[in-house]
């Protein structure tokens, strides 16, 4: 079987999602028998030219340079996979979308005129067609591996969990932190895949996998109000690592 030719790209991000490839300590060497990392700056000096079978893209698009690059990536890749919260919803950088970008530049840079950024940090899907998404801040390395193995078997789209974190939470045997402790939790509206990590560690879900399929953030928002959680705190809860996703954005906007 021909090896799958893979490129791994980084845009505005923390490197944590592509790092998950390198965190596959038990599988990486075997995996490199099945796929060729033709372009993977974080791991290799060697760069194999395109076209690529699959491009994994980490990060959001936040500068004019990145817009050009993502278009080039799209052109030279048969399948484009957005990995992680930044590449699927804009991620943490998108927090600046809520503010005055010019003010941000002035706050951070003494010479703001040198800094060229787009008005909004957005996921690649804003600019090009994205074939598949792997969610999470960061993506889970197990999901990443499973995705690749499914792709190798010709399974498209590869299946990953899309129902709520609650389902995984209860399967894992956790007690609902919202009901039992009154801890605000985004689990009921957030896509599973993490294995309900946060509730397993005694805290509410902070929504890093973004909205689940068919989410009801309005109903959760209403419940938070009933529980007398302060408006600002409700807003901050939805305004985290997937704040720019359509469904969470609506709740954030209510409190802007």
């Amino acid at each position: 079987m021909r090896k799958l030719k893979v490129a791994v790209y980084k845009f505005s991000s923390c490197d944590g999602c592509q790092l998950q490839f390198l965190n596959l300590e038990d599988e990486l060497l075997q995996l490199s028998d099945l796929i060729e990392f033709a372009l993977f700056y974080e791991a290799r000096r060697f760069v194999g030219s395109g076209p690529y079978d699959v491009a994994f893209v980490e990060g959001s698009i936040s500068t004019p340079h990145e817009v050009e690059l993502i278009k080039k990536v799209r052109e030279e890749s048969k399948v484009l996979v957005a990995i992680g919260a930044c590449a699927t919803s804009g991620g943490i950088q998108a927090l600046r979308n809520w503010a005055d970008a010019e003010e941000y530049k002035r706050y951070v840079y003494p010479r703001p005129e040198w800094v060229e950024v787009l008005r909004y940090a957005e996921p690649p899907s804003k600019y090009v067609k994205v074939d598949y998404e792997i969610r999470g801040c960061p993506v889970s390395k197990d999901q990443l591996l499973s995705f690749v193995l499914q792709l190798l078997k010709g399974k498209t789209p590869p299946t990953l969990p899309v129902d709520s974190v609650c389902v995984e939470c209860k399967r894992r045997g956790n007690v609902c932190v919202l009901v039992a402790k009154g801890i605000p939790c985004l689990g009921p509206v957030t896509m599973g895949g993490c294995g309900a990590l946060c509730p397993s560690y005694g805290r509410g879900c902070y929504g890093c996998y973004g909205p689940m399929i068919d989410p009801k953030p309005d109903a959760l928002n209403a419940r938070f109000k009933e529980l007398n959680i302060k408006p600002k705190e409700i807003q901050l809860l939805f305004k985290q690592f997937t704040n720019w996703s359509k469904e969470f954005r609506k709740v954030v906007e209510e409190y802007e």
Binding site: C166, V167, R171, G173, C176, C185, P188, D214
Partner: protein, 360 residues
């Protein structure tokens, strides 16, 4: 099914410890409620002292807390967790197509202090899974059920309506009721009889019997849902197009917590996991009808709207189940009410549907 073999006997509350130790001595893994992080959890106990004591659970729609008290009902876990585990590997298949079913350890479980609603949930699962799921069956055959009758049902309980409590009537090995420092006992099986023999008991006296009856009567009054079971499946099906489901679902998150905590929800999904060495496994996992993907097929969806999925949940428990398995799917434990993050009350839904007309 078995019923009471002995009638009622009286012993002392502290003989529960003797009973517990006897089960351990006989090689059972004793499963009961203990307090973990402020919640009653069903788990394996190595000593009687680990059993929750001196606490009471306060339950309401979307609310759960523990306070000090003398009687508790339950927590989010039900026997389903042990008998029908959330993850079960169905088979592994090697790259060369050898299909292997993992060997599973069958432990001898003794449920200690289960409430009648949970006993009823096992009876429901029996109807669904006995003769079908051999893992369930093997656990079930090696199992002991010690049931504690419910003297004080909670705010979300409606076992009286569902005819599952507050007093267990059959299918237990031993049922007991705490009346102060007295214990009223009843054996429902030969094994229960043997266990009773280990304790020091007397036939029940008039005064204790009256107290027992009064306690159960009172308890029964507290656990009503405000609707009747007679004709319920038909009444609900006649109102299958009721708008109540849409109304109620405005509060619903579609998170499927209700499915997950329900002691009888048995739907499963399978995960196909390819592994790096070329082998693969297939895992059975709990699923629930509130999940969007539940009714989804390639290129279509049978219940794209949440209200339709919620309606299926309600009708399955109260109407379809009866046709499928000859029993209601709901045992009135109230877990789906308590553990619903937005506190949707199943009892209220049923009442509203019944109150409304055919499309009301």
């Amino acid at each position: 099914m078995w019923v009471s073999l002995t009638g009622l006997y009286v012993g002392r509350v502290d003989s529960l410890r003797v009973l517990f130790d006897e089960l351990r001595r006989s090689g059972y893994f004793v499963v009961g409620y203990r307090v973990v992080d402020g919640v009653l959890r069903l788990g394996e106990l190595s000593s009687f002292d680990e059993l929750a004591q001196g606490v009471e659970d306060v339950q309401g729609p979307g609310r759960y807390s523990l306070i000090s008290g003398s009687f508790y009902r339950h927590g989010p876990d039900s026997p389903k967790k042990f008998l029908y585990p959330p993850y079960l590997t169905l088979f592994k298949v090697s790259s060369g197509w050898d299909v292997v079913v993992p060997v599973r350890e069958v432990r001898r479980l003794a449920f200690f202090g289960l409430k009648p609603c949970d006993l009823a949930s096992i009876k429901v699962l029996d109807r669904v899974l006995l003769g079908v799921d051999d893992y369930y069956e093997s656990l079930r055959k090696n199992m002991v059920l010690i049931v504690e009758n419910c003297t004080t049902p909670g705010n979300t309980c409606f076992c009286s309506t569902m005819n599952t409590g507050p007093r267990a009537r059959d299918s237990f090995d031993l049922a007991y009721t705490r009346l102060g420092d007295k214990l009223v006992l009843e054996a429902g099986s030969v094994l229960g009889l043997k266990l009773l023999n280990v304790l020091e008991v007397e036939p029940i006296d008039d005064a204790t019997y009256e107290r027992f009856e009064a306690t159960m009567r009172n308890a029964s009054e507290k656990a009503r849902a405000g609707f009747e079971l007679n004709g319920l499946p038909e009444e609900l099906e006649l109102r299958i197009e009721s708008k109540v489901y849409e109304k109620v679902t405005e509060k619903c998150l579609g998170c499927a917590n209700c499915n997950m905590v329900c002691p009888t929800c048995f739907c499963f999904d399978v995960l196909d996991v390819p592994l790096i060495d070329g082998s693969a496994e297939r895992v059975r996992v709990w699923d629930g009808c509130l999940n969007f993907t539940y009714g989804q097929v390639a290129g279509g969806h049978f219940r794209p709207d949440l209200w339709a999925r919620y309606r299926h949940f309600v009708l399955h428990k109260f109407a379809y189940w009866v046709k499928q398995f000859g029993t209601f799917g709901c045992v009135g434990c109230g877990r789906c009410i308590t553990w619903c993050p937005t506190g949707i009350d199943l009892r209220e839904t049923v009442r509203s549907v019944l109150r409304g007309g055919k499309s009301g």
